[in-house]
Symmetry: C2
Subunit: 290 residues, 2 copies
């Protein structure tokens, strides 16, 4: 087994190599002046089983293309089995048609990763587990919630887990179970024209004296979590922190979260944003799935 | 037959529709805040033959991903046959291994376009015709040299065609034949470490009194053509213009070309750069290949 470290790994490739003892080869890459990517794998892979590590954090399109180029190069070089470790897999949220004629980006991306050569795909916390069925090969899903729970536990005394929308409810349940505490959720409405999000306060129990932990899979602009935080405080919360797996944090997301009183933003190194956040390493969880 | 206009067409989709009489549907698209693309095709394509127009000019990775997303959506919607018209197809230059372990981006991209649903691929002037054999379906190559020759003819009195390197020699021959004139080529050396390009003056005939037409498939940084222009003037050329198919013109390419005395830059609308150049429409040539 050989581990190939792609152009975007956040150090997971090196840690996997240390944890498993498999040798690590880093791809060489450059950008041509016109913006095309060049990839080279300085190793002999003929007859080898290969694990490629490449996360598709922003810039997603570049990192995805480089994932696909690298996969096909590995296959061309004679690898017998290819496992793609993609800690954050972009484009998974569009996995059903809300309106006729929509492209199902999740299906396309999963098919392309297979077409480029991956037999097995390892992904950390996909948006919907069911959408992974679009991958024609074997899928292994890594659950980072236990590690995130351990990190959150250090920050709070009286935890209560709150999902900002129904989609995060199952995650809230898993996190609450790890923390041996209770959980609830808010109802989110998205205006399909403007894209604006409003939260309708459902039957939230009084949160007086609780340290609320908001949970989600992805933080993008932070709008949903910021509004959830305000509702938590208005329901009596003593403090609010957020736990999410993939911290995209686009635009001024961090400011929005801070202004809404979120005291700490905890995530994983599937995505490494520029902002100062607490990141839990997912390498251990991935290593046991190889 | 239905023509679907992608997110990047330079107007070729509309002109194809007018030339052929086939109805045109434009895709709807937007960017999510985190940078992912959303695509929707507002039409019924069930049982239809579909022609998708999408050029992959810069930003290449975004336009390529959108090409792939749109292709799979068209297939999902029940199209019986899909022809992808990709006037400029990016990533074709890396089509052989100069060093072990290099990714063959041409092969990967051509395989992915097929995997996403294209049965037939129409491309204008690929870098090497042979590399199109990597596409597992039918390939139709559009030759823009006759149209470019007509445009160049208006600019010059005593044309002489000069290829800036051996790779452009066959193009120079085709252009010279259209213009019923002579041609020659320069020898280019690329320093494999620095990427710098030098031209060795080969046996160029004296160019005294000639209007030299430099020809290439792609202008990227313009370095090669700028040096070729200087050599042409030092060999007695009266004027120099350039004819190339795909005008990427990255960075300060236009300034480099102008400073080297290139009086006019002629290309096609496979790529539409920001700079002021003369662009020949390729729609007619594409229409006859559908």
């Amino acid at each position: 087994m050989i581990i190939v470290g792609g152009t975007s790994t956040n150090g997971v490739d090196g840690r996997l190599s240390k944890l498993t003892g498999y040798p690590l080869v880093k791809v060489e890459s450059k950008l041509f002046p016109d913006g095309e990517s060049y990839i080279r794998i300085p190793a002999s892979l003929d007859g080898e089983e290969v694990v490629l590590v490449q996360t598709t954090q922003p810039p997603q399109n570049k990192n995805l293309l480089e994932l696909l180029l690298t996969l096909e190069a590995i296959r061309d070089m004679g690898a017998t089995k290819i496992t793609a470790v993609v800690p954050y897999l972009a484009y998974l949220r569009q996995d059903r048609r809300f309106t006729d004629g929509e492209a199902l980006s999740a299906k396309t991306i999963l098919n392309l990763i297979h077409a480029a050569g991956a037999n097995t795909l390892v992904v950390v916390e996909p948006h919907h587990r069911e959408s992974m069925d679009y991958f024609p090969g074997e899928v292994r899903i890594v659950d980072p919630i236990p590690s995130l729970a351990r990190e959150a536990r250090k920050r709070v005394e009286r935890p209560f887990v709150l999902a900002p929308d129904r989609g995060a409810l199952e995650r809230a349940e898993r996190l609450a179970k790890e923390l041996e505490t209770n959980f609830s959720f808010l109802e989110k409405e998205r205006d399909r024209k403007t894209g604006e999000v409003r939260i309708r306060q459902a039957d939230i129990p009084p949160l007086n004296g609780y340290d609320v932990i908001l949970v989600d899979d992805i933080i993008s602009t932070g709008g949903t979590l910021a509004e959830a935080s305000r509702i938590a405080y208005s329901s009596g919360a003593r403090s609010v922190i957020s736990v999410a797996v993939h911290l995209l944090l686009v635009r001024d997301a961090m400011n929005r979260l801070r202004e809404a009183g979120i005291r700490e933003v905890i995530g994983t190194n599937t995505v490494v944003p520029e902002e100062r956040v607490t990141l839990v390493d997912v390498s251990d969880q991935i290593a046991v799935r190889l």
